[in-house]
Symmetry: C2
Subunit: 137 residues, 2 copies
Amino acid sequence: MLSHKAKYALKALLYLAEQDENHISRTIEIADGANIPKKFLEQILLDLKRGRFVSSKQGKFGGYYLIKSKNDITLAEIHRLFDGAIALLPCASLNFYEPCSDCKTESECSLRQGLMLIRDKTLKAMEGITIASLVNK
Amino acid sequence: MLSHKAKYALKALLYLAEQDENHISRTIEIADGANIPKKFLEQILLDLKRGRFVSSKQGKFGGYYLIKSKNDITLAEIHRLFDGAIALLPCASLNFYEPCSDCKTESECSLRQGLMLIRDKTLKAMEGITIASLVNK
DNA sequence: CTAATTCCTAGTAAATCGATAGAATTAATA
DNA sequence: TATTAATTCTATCGATTTACTAGGAATTAG
């Protein structure tokens, strides 16, 4: 399941993607437009900025705008940024790999094999969902 | 991600599936065999019993045994029993549906459409992973 | 200088998670 | 029938995470 943070991030990105190019959106504008608690959204936008999905202009008349093409922002990336691993267990994860402490020998962990299969399919599906693909609906 | 409960449940089911037919496994035996905290495993086995995956015999020489074919126990079912929805948001879930409080009109929620697509693919993949398919490795 | 905005750091209440404790219940068998 | 070994049930605990909120510092346009 997605955290609220991840959901709000996606909604905020969708909002930004729907604006005219060169338009700068204030936090409050996004919060109202996408129904997101404003102070919470502030943090989320900062995270998106650190992740180089958006950039900002400070001070009066400042705000946020996309710096990554909406075709290149995938659900998989947003999931990873806010909720971490896409795999069902860390031992089956590409980006957040950690061995299981309770598995005696990993090569023999039959569960892991199955979970890596799931991971590959889920990942592929999530990489196919882009902000652009969602906006055009 | 799977909770420890779900992971332990899968490991316990794998353990049971590997035993001879008609063999009854005590909790402590499963706990040792699959490296699961015994008291925690107790709860998990009760959950699996309520879910009609296993049954138990009480008293001396009691224990647990599979009552569902290993071909019919899927990762999807275990995920649902212990961790709930497979979809990324409740509004995109089949079995745990709930509307989003922050979406103005659901039909217009472009995010939901994408998440239902992911759900279908993930679900299909998870239904393909059975205890039997994991044991034979 | 002032107003409007992002940026930063804490804090907090509630829920969830992983696990433990202990007593009640059940059943085999000596 | 008493003993013993097992499941079953209920309650609780501490740590972590989640979803926010609060307050103010820094920045910028006019």
